[in-house]
């Protein structure tokens, strides 16, 4: 624990392994600003915000979509702290800067009013090429010195006017430069696209039931960005010689695969990006394969640290102890078991919905049935409720379901985009 930094890291694991066993699993709960006050070791960091609004033709149908988007953007601008640099981008087949005319400008009463005037003139027309929107945001962010750089991206459609390859290319350029929350409105956005963008840019992805929800959603995203008090925190992992990192995942508040995002610091040490932190708590699941030890031996399987500015702000030890006592070695830590289930839940929802779209009803029914069962077992009510929009549940405990023929594409995309949202283990 490191009270000075305001960060704590707690480890949950069963360190006991049977003779010859090699796999060590642990859940690490990282909490910043416990007790409500956000940690800010060096004062509030400077921030920049780019708001990317889909202005493609479809945003005009129904009319409320564009009017709510305009209102929401105004709310976001109003939520910016004084002095925060910002820009508004209209997204079509190309990106176009709405306000200011070039670069970014510091939020003040005058600039907010001018921004809202410019936003009000936005009209829907043209196509959708999200990569170009993100590329413009990246260019604007590159020109300013802010510590926390955050984007909000709203779309109502699929990324039709550029290739997936072009989007991947832009995401690779933007990664680590700024974070981005993505929201879909209407019925034509693709959950997989939003999740891809949000994952790469360490943000959240979600969809809205109604355009009327936009202003509240924009306020929440902006407030969260303004609450970030420590920019650019990394998860640092030390593992012993001869070990293999099976995976590193964020597992709460949503599943994010981090394994492939390792940046090697040395032979033994690698770092994974976690972005900026406000007063919040996240859980990580680390799984390491270590060379088997002798009975009675204690070994460090991983040292998990949170690092900001190359300073360790919280640290936790993952241990391995080999024992002949089966009563010890066969126990599975309840958090490790819980998040193993939550990760599987996200996976089977995505696989089930993909099979459903491909017309493979048998696979879809099996996968979504398993999802219903996992959601029921873990008490994940939000996900259970979403799943009932795409399947009729006969028996949740056994995962017996039938695909719903009346499910809309919004039902499927919402279920998909929220599939990665997890809950913490319920205290029994």
């Amino acid at each position: 624990m490191s009270p000075q930094s305001g960060f704590t890291a707690e480890v949950y694991q069963n360190p006991y392994l049977a003779a010859g066993a090699e796999t060590v699993d642990a859940v690490i709960t990282v909490t910043a600003g416990e007790g409500g006050a956000a940690p800010s070791p060096a004062g509030t960091p400077s921030a920049a915000e780019a708001i990317m609004i889909d202005c493609s033709g479809s945003m005009g149908y129904p009319r409320s979509r564009m009017t709510e988007a305009i209102k929401a953007t105004g709310v976001a601008v109003d939520t910016l702290r004084d002095g925060v640099l910002f820009a508004v981008i209209a997204g079509r087949s190309r990106a176009e800067q709405v306000y200011p005319s070039r670069g970014m400008v510091a939020a003040s009463a005058d600039t907010r009013a001018a921004a809202k005037q410019a936003i009000a003139r936005l009209t829907p027309s043209g196509g959708t090429a999200m990569g170009s929107w993100l590329a413009l945001a990246n260019k604007l962010f590159a020109e300013v010195p802010a510590q926390v750089k955050h984007g909000i991206m709203l779309t109502d459609g699929r990324n039709q006017h550029e290739t997936p390859e072009a989007l991947r290319q832009v995401l690779a350029e933007c990664e680590g430069r700024f974070s981005c929350d993505c929201r879909g409105v209407g019925e034509d956005w693709a959950a997989s696209e939003l999740r891809t963008i949000a994952s790469a840019l360490l943000g959240s992805a979600d969809g809205l039931e109604e355009p009327a929800e936009l202003p509240a959603a924009f306020r929440a995203m902006t407030e969260q960005a303004m609450g970030k008090s420590v920019a650019d925190v990394k998860l640092r992992l030390w593992t012993p010689a001869g070990s293999t990192i099976r995976f590193v995942k964020q597992v709460f508040p949503q599943v994010e695969e981090l394994t492939g995002r390792r940046v090697a610091v040395s032979d033994r040490i690698g770092e994974y990006p976690t972005g900026a932190w406000g007063a919040e708590s996240r859980d990580y699941h680390v799984s390491v394969q270590v060379p088997p030890g002798t009975l009675g031996e204690e070994r460090l399987a991983a040292r998990v640290s949170l690092v900001s500015d190359d300073t360790v702000i919280a640290q936790s030890l993952v241990l391995a102890r080999w024992t002949e006592d089966d009563a010890l070695s066969t126990q599975i830590n309840d958090r490790v078991a819980h998040y193993t289930g939550q990760a599987e839940l996200a996976e089977v929802i995505q696989q089930g919905l993909e099979a459903r779209e491909a017309g493979d009803d048998a696979t879809a029914t099996a996968k979504l049935g398993r999802a219903v069962q996992l959601a029921d077992e873990s008490g994940h009510e939000q996900t259970a409720k979403l799943l009932r929009r795409v399947v009729d549940v006969e028996d949740a405990a056994t995962g017996t379901v039938r695909l719903r023929r009346d499910a809309s594409s919004l039902d499927a995309e919402l279920t998909n985009v929220r599939s990665t949202k997890t809950i913490r283990v319920k205290r029994s």
């Binding site: 624990m1 012993p240 010689a241 070990s243 270590v290 030890g293 204690e298 070994r299 460090l300 640290q315």
Partner: protein, 334 residues
């Protein structure tokens, strides 16, 4: 982590880690020799590991794990001996344990030997880290408190407080089963002996010719029940009667140590030990009849060997203090 205490090489005077066997400057054995010079304020069995037993690597992180293979290095050596003249002690890993989780520190004030022995609770994680941190924190505080004029019982209470803080510091991110240890300290002066303790490490008073006694009363479940009125034989028959009810650790209560001060009627020896010895000679008469005459280090070695020969199932620490204390070698009068 406390830096290992230094002593001065008896041959060349170079400072050396008390945990080292030989002087790094001239190679003279540092221990098993008479008292180091009076400049040595105190010594302890703590020492950082030199080389990983699993992979041979020599780098260890500050939390005590091998930088290469992650193997936890010992906090103290398997065997250590110190002889300060008026007080001497031995600690040994025994036959069954992976690590020596006992730790001890010895010190002197003019005419007043000081002892702290801690035994890492083996059901806790990193009991050795707790015991070593505890002795290293307690002995200097005990010394300072006495120098400042504190009553020995008060001085021991202050040293327990320091030990608690040190054990809390080494607990670090450990969950559920924080490192913990027992504690027993003794202050032996010309007119009286004071012993304070938390847990089941013991001190025995063995008078030359008189009736020996155990000065400490274990903080055990059985003794707790006896104190609340249960007959002794019934209390000892309870399940887990030997379980510790008090210890030093994040998960323990922080009340004052129990303490006793007494004035011996004549000369004798105070034996301060971990349960690695007392489990084999629990009754004071049994211990007394097994304790040979001789200089303190020789006696401590023989009692340690006795425990090893009896099975050595636990770590063993034995400190011997003759009473009245041997006259100070240097005449720094008070």
């Amino acid at each position: 982590m406390v830096i290992a205490q230094t002593i001065d090489c008896p041959a060349c005077g170079a400072p050396a880690s008390a945990g080292f066997r030989f002087c790094e400057a001239c190679g003279t054995p540092l221990h098993g020799v008479p008292a180091p010079s009076a400049a040595a304020e105190w010594v302890s069995s703590s020492t950082a590991p030199q080389r990983c037993e699993a992979c041979g690597h020599t780098g260890f992180s500050s939390d005590g794990y091998c930088d290469q293979c992650g193997q936890r290095g010992p906090t103290g050596p398997d065997h250590s001996e110190f002889d300060l003249g008026p007080v001497a002690g031995v600690s040994d890993i025994g036959h069954r344990h992976e690590r020596n989780e006992d730790a001890f520190a010895l010190g002197t004030l003019p005419g007043t030997p000081l002892v702290v022995v801690c035994d890492g609770v083996s059901s806790s994680s990193r009991g050795d880290a707790a015991s070593h941190a505890a002795v290293d924190a307690a002995l200097p505080v005990l010394r300072t408190a006495l120098t400042e004029g504190s009553h020995p019982e008060r001085a021991i209470a202050r040293s327990v407080h320091a030990a608690r803080e040190a054990v809390t510091a080494v607990a670090g991110p450990d969950q559920g089963n924080p490192p913990s240890c027992t504690f027993v300290a003794a202050v032996v002066s010309a007119g009286s002996i004071t012993v304070g303790w938390v847990g089941d490490s013991r001190a025995y008073w063995l008078p030359d010719g008189g009736t020996p006694c155990c000065v400490t009363v274990d903080d055990s479940l059985a003794n707790e029940l006896i104190a609340s009125g249960m007959p002794a034989d019934e209390a000892h028959a309870q399940p887990h009667s030997g379980a510790l009810v008090r210890w030093i650790g994040v998960d323990a209560d922080d009340g004052p140590p129990k303490a006793r001060t007494f004035t011996p009627e004549g000369p004798g020896r105070l034996i301060v030990c971990s349960d690695g010895l007392s489990r084999y000679r629990s009754a004071p008469e049994a211990l007394a009849s097994s304790t040979p005459p001789g200089p303190p280090l020789a006696v401590a070695r023989q009692l340690t060997q006795l425990a090893l020969d009896a099975g050595g199932v636990d770590n063993i620490t034995v400190v011997v203090v003759p009473y009245p204390p041997a006259a100070p070698t240097e005449g720094s009068a008070q």
